[in-house]
Symmetry: C2
Subunit: 335 residues, 2 copies
DNA sequence: CGCCAACATTTACGCGCGTAAAATTTTTAT
DNA sequence: ATAAAAATTTTACGCGCGTAAATGTTGGCG
């Protein structure tokens, strides 16, 4: 930088200022710097920068399972938002393992990020550790809630998701049963079950929940395996609402294998609906009726709230900002 | 570190040595350090470390499309391998855009990584830029080849993939047509086409390639849209080999919509096969017959070759190590 | 017991940059 | 034109660590 300062005829502190914010120097100075810049292609050393800045320009993004297309997609949105805001996002994922989630928090600490967007594992998360982390680093939770942790929460209104879908299914046919995991790794499932129970009762129907066994994040596999079992004697009403699209994808595969036709036509054996608008649900057989989450809105709001949190110190004890997004019913052929 | 050195009763340079390699200090010293460590939970500042080390312990991983479950999955394997070898992996993805691929190379340069595992965009890649990058940073290509770039290549034997599948399909029914994109974003498609052509001729059949239009990485969408068109008059022989699983997933959705039954039974209208063993292909309707890539083997070998490349300087002009993995035929119900 | 090698310590410097304070120059407003 | 404001330069220090060289210490060996 010293060298570059001399060849560009400008002092080093000014160059430093320029790289922190090109608009903080005079227009003519900026032009001179940028001219010198493409003659010598100098780039400041990020490590030296980050060592000396108390706050780096890094933003951590944590998703529970990066190979899940849903999380991959939303992470992609968030990354773009961060870059546009002038930050460097880093994506980390514990792949469903608590120990890795804790390791990730350690890694993040040493990255001294300006802020973190965190989609926790949920049920499995080490809440004490998470709470301690959020005390030190401005963190916005997304997708999945952990009570009283973080500066804000941006998620879907999962209760409303199910009630929306239950409304639709009841309006167009028999009341649905709920197909879910008995020990879901993610707390959203519980909200969805509550939404289902409430909506069914509100409409005067008796709720019926099918809780299937299964551990971990292999939702399609669980949906398929348990689907084979459950569908050998399809539930009365023959309308099935799956707790999420990935379970539905497995269930559809099971229905297909059993020779059951799925759809909303009179001739169909079964109606199946999911939730999340998983990227693949457009290509299932038949295409899956579902509730779509607004990826763009969630990620935008999440980043916006994080940037707020970053430049306003946490007023200790102040209430967390919680924002829930409603879903959009996507009617396809499965229900 | 100064502080920690004094409370632990050991000199700072020795502490520094310890963090670079705990085995480089005497056993008794190591014990004393580690004892002090859990009393004061000190952690060295990575930015200061990386500034002073000529080579960081970072490894860059680049995949063309991180939301594609195939790449997400292989990236996950690679990340794990890197961590086990004591490195810090960073996953980056251009999401199909060349400009972003070039930006990523810039980002990587400033990260001063020990090495990079790079799955290039392929056809779209800026080859000159990529070549320059690989001159400066030890890089191992994977998945997709760019001629004479990088220190090694670890990929699937794509020609063999198709010939393997063609053999199978011909042995069990009519010779297949090849369903592919006319302008695939990835060069592997060309290898696969060549494999198809060669295998068909070798078996004495006339090859028949259906090249459908479509841009970008929305393979399912293209497979679906063009599938609807192509399957309105199914090709003779009614055996279709798709250039990759994602196209096949779209094609299966189209077949389903058109009421065509897919399978290898006598009563089926169509046989469909894919390639890659996409995580979702077990749950298509019917489950997709495909060629599986060995994720674990590819990632292991890739990391191994990169570590080699890292501690042996590139003998200028020396030949690149190319390793191709054979696929395994996965027989499911679609063909 | 004394010697040698391996390991630790002391001392010292430098990495590339942020940043503060004071002095100076340039720009803007009056 | 002149004063005030804004931007820049000069000077100087520190961040937290790697690393080299010289010196000191330890433990095992004959």
């Amino acid at each position: 930088m010293e060298e570059f300062a001399s060849v560009s005829g400008i002092s080093r502190p000014t160059i430093s200022k320029y790289f922190n914010d090109p608009n903080s120097v005079r227009q003519s100075t900026r032009a001179r710097i940028e001219e010198a810049l493409d003659r010598h292609d100098y780039r400041p050393n990020i490590y030296a920068i980050n060592q000396n800045r108390r706050l780096t320009k890094n933003i951590g993004i944590v998703v529970p399972y990066s190979t899940d297309p849903f999380f991959a997609e939303i992470a992609r949105y968030i990354e773009r938002q961060c870059v546009e805001a002038g930050f460097s996002p880093t994506l980390l994922s514990p792949h469903g393992q608590v120990e890795l989630e804790n390791e990730i928090m350690e890694t993040l600490r040493s990255m001294k990020p300006a802020g973190v967007l965190f989609a926790p594992l949920g049920r499995a998360s080490d809440k004490a550790e998470l709470e301690r982390f959020c005390k030190d680093v401005p963190t916005v939770l997304f997708d999945s809630n952990v009570e009283n942790v973080g500066r804000a929460l941006v998620a879907s209104d999962n209760e409303h998701f199910t009630s929306q879908m239950v409304d639709y299914l009841c309006r167009t046919g028999a009341p649905p049963v709920l197909f879910e995991m008995s020990t879901p790794p993610n707390p959203n499932s519980n909200k969805r079950r509550n939404g289902y129970l409430g909506a069914m009762r509100h409409l005067g129907h008796e709720p019926h929940v099918i809780s299937v066994p299964g551990e971990g994040w292999n939702f399609e596999e669980i949906g398929y395996r348990e689907g084979l079992r459950v569908l050998s004697a399809p539930p009365e009403g023959r309308s099935i609402l799956c707790s999420n699209d990935r379970l539905a994808i497995g269930l559809l595969a099971a229905a297909y294998e059993l020779g059951l036709s799925v759809g909303h036509g009179a001739e169909a054996d079964l109606r199946v609906a999911g939730m999340d608008d998983h990227p693949f649900s457009r290509f299932t057989c038949p295409p899956l009726t579902t509730i779509s989450q607004d990826y763009a809105a969630i990620s935008e709001k999440g980043v916006e709230l994080l940037l707020d949190a970053i430049d306003t110190d946490a007023p200790a004890g102040s209430a967390r900002t919680d924002i829930l997004f409603e879903g959009r019913l996507v009617m396809r052929k499965s229900a």
